[in-house]
């Protein structure tokens, strides 16, 4: 599971082109990690210490999401809502 942001098409070393984003229903998550491996640009990372109301670790989103819906498709717990920006944005990284 990747720990840092993937290098997508970027304007420079400190930002990444981001085409989409997600809303994460943190308390619905059961910490299964499937989304981490399923995400093609690898922009999902699990928390290491923080847990949700049910005691599970949950995913965090980094810059570079493409709105491909892989996470929502693979998630067994319906944790994700996926959005695609009308115009891709630059997201600072690092």
């Amino acid at each position: 599971m990747t720990d840092g942001p993937a290098q997508g098409a970027s304007h420079g070393p400190d930002s990444v082109l981001t085409r989409g984003t997600v809303v994460i229903d943190v308390d619905a998550c059961k910490g299964c990690d499937l989304c981490i491996g399923a995400c093609p640009p690898g922009v999902l990372v699990m928390t290491t210490h923080e847990v949700n109301a049910r005691g599970y670790r949950f995913p965090l989103l980094l810059g570079g999401c493409t709105g491909c819906r892989a996470c929502s498709q693979i998630c067994p717990d319906f944790v994700f809502q996926v959005y695609k920006y009308e115009i891709p944005i630059q997201v600072p990284v690092g």
């Binding site: 599971m1 942001p5 981001t18 989409g20 984003t21 997600v22 809303v23 994460i24 229903d25 943190v26 619905a28 059961k30 910490g31 299964c32 990690d33 499937l34 981490i36 491996g37 399923a38 093609p40 990372v45 928390t47 290491t48 210490h49 923080e50 599970y56 965090l60 989103l61 980094l62 810059g63 999401c65 709105g67 491909c68 819906r69 892989a70 996470c71 929502s72 498709q73 693979i74 998630c75 067994p76 717990d77 319906f78 944790v79 994700f80 809502q81 996926v82 959005y83 695609k84 920006y85 009308e86 115009i87 944005i89 997201v91 600072p92 990284v93 690092g94």
Partner: protein, 277 residues
Amino acid sequence: MKERETRRVIPTDAPPTAPARLVEDFTPDLIDVGAHHLCPGCGEPIAIRSVMEAVAELDLVRRTIAVFGIGCYTAFSNNLDVEVLQALHGRAPSVATGVKRARPDAIVITVQGDGDMVSEGLQEVLHTAARGENVTCIMLNNGVFGETGGHMTATTVLGQRTKTSLEGRDAVTHGRPILLADLVARLDGAAFVARCAVNSAGNVARTKKVILRALQTQASGAGFSLVEILTMCPTGWFVETAEAPDYLADSLATVHTGGVLKDFLATSPTSPSTTVP
């Protein structure tokens, strides 16, 4: 909180402020509740989601009656917004037959596990397929009886460790797995038979495609359709949730191989239109 700040995490607790369109909601409309109590990493909700999306996509919601077998997935029998008839372990195909014969205009699907369909109910699915009943049977195949705690079924693969094959399934002691989709494809009454998996986003997309095809087959009256969906069961497989997709690919999927085994609509010379009447 500290963790999120140091890693430059994008806030994900609310929809974006920049103009964006929603491309996937939490659940499809037909799945009523967000929380279920299946294990972390279970593949069954992923498969159920695909089925519901396919039903909605083909605009079959107001015609569908889903007949559920007994297994972990039974948890979904009372939280889907389609009409549901609960059947006994292994017995959904005969019940589905009764529904379809009494209401030929309904789109009748079954949702069954491998233990349900291939162990307890092998006779039922084979006869239903042989008769060419215009129903769609969907098998969630994880190679174990999940709900009872992870025991060997008729589809468990050689070498697979379960609570009733602790050293791994052995051909001499336990016999060999039944490859149901292959068995059903040989029956003339079966019009569409496919096997797929939900261990990757790509496979989930393929799964949805074959479910759509199966439903179209039913709607066209061409005969029996079966979709066998390999699902993860990290609990029953004794593997970490994150390793289950690879385990599926390396074990179950090498025996129960993916693909479309039979597609009457594609091969029939006088194939009816594939659009849903």
